[in-house]
Amino acid sequence: MNLTLLILVPFITAVLILLARGLQQIRVIGLIGSLIQLGLAGWLLKSFLAARAAGNNAAHLFESNQTWFKALHINYHIGIDGIALAMILLTSVIVVAGILVSWTMDKLSKEYFFLLVLLSMGAYGFFISLDLFTLFFFLEVAVIPKFLLIGIWGSGDKTKSAMKLALMLMAGSALVMVGLFGIYYNTHTFDMVQITQQGIPVGVQKFFFPFAFLGFGVFAALFPFHTWVPDGHASAPTAASMFLAGISMKLGGYGCLRIAALMPDAAHTYSWIIILLATIAIIYGAFATMMQTDLKYINAYSSISHCGFVILGIGMLNKTSINGAVIQMVSHGLMTALFFAAIGMIYSRTHTRMVAQLGGLLKAMPFISTVFVIAGLCSLGLPGFSGFVAEMTVFMGSWQNPDGAYRLATILSGASIVVTAVYILRATGRAIMGPISAEHALLSDATWNEKLAAVLLIAGILVIGLAPFLINHLIMPSTDAIMLQVGKVTLIK
C-alpha cells in the first residue's frame, strides 16, 4: 500500500473543508476524513502484520523512494517500521477523537477544522519519513497550525502562550536544522537508511548530537525547555490540547529516538546528561503539578513528568527501556488526550477549570466523571491501564543498567509515581466526589460525539493495558533493529 495516502487523505480533507459551507458540512467532512485515516491506519496495521507473518523481515515496509531535489540529493523516502506504525495508529485515533470533541465549534469553524487536519497531516508525514529532510519539513509544518489554533480559539492569555509555544518550537527546529546539516555534510545524504548503513564519524556525532537531540527535546518537553508546555496546553482549545499533547509532543520523542539510533556513539557519551535531564523533568513535573489548581495546568505539568519517562527510556539505551519509551509515547498520547477531552467537556459545561470551584460532578455528569477518573487512574499507573505497562517497562529497562547513578535515577523516577497518585487523587476527589454546588447540579452529561471520542480513547488505553503483548509484538522487531545500531558501539567499547 502506498503510504503517501496518509498525507493525501488529510490534504484532500483540508481542501474539501475549505470548499464546504456551514458547520454541518465542515464537521462531517472532517469526521469522514479522519475516519478514513483511522481506517487506513488499521489497514496498514493489518497488512504490516501480515507481511511480518509472511516472513518479510525488512527493516522498513511499504518503502518508496523518489527523488525530490535531485541536485541536493534530497529524496522523498518513506517507509514504516513497527514504531512508526504505532505512532500512526495513535495519531489516527486522536484525530478522530479530536474532531468529535470539536463537534460544536462554531467560531470560525472552517479555519479551525482546516488547521486541525493540517496538523495531522504534518504528524503523518513526520512519522512515515525515512529522509531527514522530509522529516524536518513535516516537523515544521505542524508548528504553525498550533500557533493559530491556540492564538485564535484559545482561552486565557492565549496570544502570549501561542507566541511562546511557536517560538520555542521554532528554536527547537532551528537546533534540529543545524544537527541535520552536520549529518548531511559528513555523510552527503539525508537518507536515514543510508546513514545507518554507512555510519557517522564519532567526532561529528559528538558535535552535532546535542543540537539534534535537544532540538527534538524541545518538542518533547525536555527539561529545561519544557516551559512552553503548561501555557500552551492550558490556553489551547480542547482539540488542540489533545493534538498538542497526544501527537505533537510525540514528534519530539520519536525524533529523539531516531537521532539516538543514528548517532549511537554520541548517545552513549551523553546518555548520563539525557538521564539527568529526564529525571529532573519527571520529578520537577510531578511536584509542579501538585501546586496547580487549574485542571488543564495539572494535566500539562503531569505531561512534562510523563514525557520525561520517554526521554529516560531512550537515554538508558537498552532494549527494554526503549520499548518502554515507545509504549509510554502511545500510552501517554491516549491518556493525555482523554484527560484533556474530559477537562474540555467539564469546562464547556461549568465554565471553570479551577479545582476549588468544582465538586461532586459525578452526580450531574456520571459519564464525563468516569472518563476523568479513568484518565486519572491511567496517569497514576494503575495496573490494567496502559500507563502501568509503559512505566513499568521503562523501569524494568532502566534497572538493567547496573551503574549506581543510573539506579538512583530509576529509583527517584519511580518515587515520582507516588506524587502522581497524590495530585491525581486529590483533584479527582475535589472535582468529582463530594457535594455538588447548586448551579452545577443541573448540568447535562456527555453528548453522543463526546461519548464516542472518549470510548475510542479508552479502548486504546485498555488494549495496551490488558494486552501489552500486542503492542510489544508490533514494536519489538523495530527496537531490536535500533538496538543493533546502538549495540554495535557497546561491543566496541
Binding site: L72, F137, F147, I152, M163
Partner: protein, 469 residues
C-alpha cells in the same frame, strides 16, 4: 551580426521600445488611466512571455555585453517582478496624474539593471548601475505633494551617489593595478596585493550600499517609508535582486583568486546584517519600515548562501530571489492595496484585519510565513537551501548564529500575524474592494509561494543553469 544583436539584446530592446511607445502615448491625446494601465500590463505580460522564448550564449561589443541562459532567466525574473508590481499598483496608479512617467522611470531603471547583469566589463557595469539608480530617485519622489516622498528621494539620490563614488574609486584602483576593466582578463591579474584588496573592499562596500547590508543600510528604512509603496517594492525586490545577481557574478567569476578573503568579508557582513536587521525589525510599527528591516535581514541570509561559493550557492541565491519576489511582493501587494484605499500603513492598523478582509489576510499571512521560512511555503526551502549552501564551507558558527536569528525573525513575523488574526480592534480596516487585476497579482504570488517550493523542478532547473566557483 545585426541579427545577433537583435536576438541577444532582445530583452533590452523590448524595454527600450516600450519606453518610446509610452513617450508617444504621452505626446498624443489624453487617454483614460484605465486604458493606459491595461495596455501597459498587457505589454508587460507579452514582454515576460517573450523573454522565456529562447536563450543563447554569446557576447556583444567586444565582451562588454554577455548573455547566456542564466542571465536571460535572471532578467525574466525581474520582468516578472515588474509585472506583479505593476498589477498590484493598479489602484494607486489609477488615481495618479502621471502614470506614464511612473512606467518610464521604472522601465528605464530596469533597462539599466539588464545592462548591469549582462555586463562583462566594469565600465558597462557602472553605466548600468547608474542608469538603474537615478530614475529610481525620481520615482521615489513620485508623491510630489508629500514631504516624506521628497525626503526619501533626496536620501536615495545622496546615498546612491555616495556609494557610486566609492564603487568608482574601487574600480579605478582595480584599473590602476591590473590595467584592464574586462572581467575575463581581470581575473588573471588579481593577485591579492594590498591595493587590490583595498579596491575590493571599496567595491564590496558599494555593493553593500545597494543591497543595504549592514553597516551600509541606514538609508533603507527612511527611503522605503517615504517612497510610494510601488517604488518601495521595486527597490526592495528588483533593484536588490539585480545587484545581487551582479555581485555573485563578480565574486564567483572575477574575484576567484581572493576567494578566501571575500568569504570572510561576506560572513562578517552577513552576521551583522542579519542581527541588525532583525533587531530593528522587532520594534517597527510602520509596515513599510518593518518590511524594510526584514528585507535587510533577508539579505543577510542571502549573503550566507553566496558565501558557500559553490554551484549550490549561486543556485540557492537565484532560487531565493524568485521566492522572495513572490513572498515580498505578496506582502507589499496587500500593504499597497490597503494604503491606496484607506491610507493606513501601520501594523497596528491591521488589528482585526481578518474579520473584515479574510482573503487579504490569508495572502499577507502566507507571504509572511514564506518570508519567515515556514513550510510548506517556498520560503522554507529558499532559506534552508541558502543555509545549506553556506554550511558546505563547514563554518558552523555562522550557521548556528543564523539559525537562532531565524527564530528572532519568526517572532516579528508572527507578531504581525497575531495582529491580523488575534487582536481585537474596535475600528478595523473596513471591507476593501480590491481591483480584479491586483487580486490576480496576489493570487499569482500565493501560487508562486506554494508551488515554487514543493515543485522541485524549479530548483533543479535553476541549479542546472548556475555556476560555482
Amino acid at each position: 551580426m545585426t541579427y545577433n544583436i537583435l536576438i541577444q539584446l532582445r530583452q533590452e530592446l523590448a524595454l527600450a521600445l516600450l519606453i518610446f511607445i509610452l513617450l508617444f502615448i504621452k505626446l498624443g491625446k489624453d487617454r483614460s488611466n484605465e486604458s493606459i494601465l491595461n495596455f501597459i500590463n498587457a505589454v508587460l505580460v507579452i514582454n515576460l512571455a517573450a523573454g522565456f522564448c529562447c536563450h543563447e550564449t554569446g557576447e556583444l561589443f567586444n565582451g562588454m555585453f554577455n548573455t547566456n541562459a542564466l542571465i536571460v532567466f535572471e532578467k525574466n525574473l525581474l520582468n516578472l517582478a515588474l509585472l506583479i508590481i505593476s498589477m498590484q499598483s493598479y489602484a494607486w496608479l489609477k488615481e495618479s496624474k502621471n502614470v506614464i512617467e511612473f512606467y518610464i522611470l521604472t522601465l528605464t531603471s530596469l533597462l539599466g539593471m539588464f545592462f548591469m547583469i549582462s555586463s562583462g566589463n566594469l565600465l558597462m557595469f557602472y553605466l548600468g548601475l547608474e542608469m538603474s539608480t537615478i530614475p529610481l530617485a525620481a520615482a521615489a519622489n513620485f508623491d510630489i505633494t508629500k514631504r516624506k516622498s521628497s525626503e526619501a528621494a533626496m536620501k536615495l539620490i545622496l546615498s546612491s551617489a555616495f556609494s557610486s563614488a566609492i564603487l568608482l574609486m574601487g574600480i579605478s584602483f582595480l584599473y590602476g593595478t591590473t590595467g584592464t576593466l574586462t572581467f575575463s582578463i581581470l581575473t588573471a591579474h588579481i593577485n591579492g596585493n594590498p591595493i587590490q584588496l583595498f579596491a575590493f573592499i571599496l567595491l564590496i562596500s558599494g555593493f553593500a550600499f545597494k543591497i543595504s547590508a549592514v553597516p551600509f543600510h541606514l538609508w533603507t528604512a527612511d527611503v522605503y517609508e517615504g517612497a510610494p509603496v510601488a517604488v518601495t517594492s521595486f527597490l526592495s525586490v528588483i533593484s536588490k535582486a539585480a545587484v545581487l545577481f551582479t555581485l555573485v557574478n563578480l565574486l564567483y567569476k572575477v574575484f576567484t583568486p581572493i576567494a578566501t578573503t571575500w568569504y570572510l568579508v561576506l560572513v562578517v557582513l552577513a552576521a551583522a546584517t542579519i542581527l541588525i536587521g532583525n533587531l530593528f525589525a522587532l520594534r517597527q510599527d510602520s509596515f513599510k519600515r518593518f518590511l524594510a528591516f526584514s528585507s535587510i535581514a533577508q539579505v543577510g541570509f542571502i549573503l550566507i548562501g553566496i558565501s558557500g561559493s559553490s554551484q549550490a550557492g549561486s543556485a540557492s541565491l537565484i532560487y531565493f530571489i524568485l521566492i522572495y519576489i513572490f513572498s515580498n511582493l505578496a506582502a507589499f501587494g496587500v500593504v499597497s492595496v490597503v494604503s491606496a484605499l484607506t491610507g493606513k500603513e501601520k501594523i497596528s492598523d491591521f488589528k482585526g484585519f481578518y474579520k473584515t478582509n479574510p482573503m487579504l489576510s490569508w495572502v499577507l499571512t502566507i507571504a509572511l510565513f514564506s518570508l519567515a521560512g515556514v513550510p510548506p511555503t517556498a520560503g522554507f526551502f529558499g532559506k534552508l537551501f541558502l543555509m545549506m549552501a553556506g554550511a558546505a564551507k563547514g563554518n558552523y558558527g555562522i550557521i548556528i548564529f543564523a539559525a537562532l536569528n531565524m527564530v528572532v525573525s519568526f517572532y516579528y513575523y508572527l507578531k504581525v500575524v497575531k495582529s491580523i488574526f488575534m487582536d481585537e480592534n474596535e475600528a478595523p480596516i473596513q471591507k476593501l474592494e480590491v481591483p480584479a487585476i491586483s487580486k490576480i497579482a496576489m493570487y499569482i504570488c500565493v501560487a508562486g509561494v506554494i508551488v515554487t517550493g514543493l515543485a522541485s523542478v524549479v530548483y533543479d532547473y535553476i541549479y542546472s543553469l548556475s555556476f560555482g566557483l
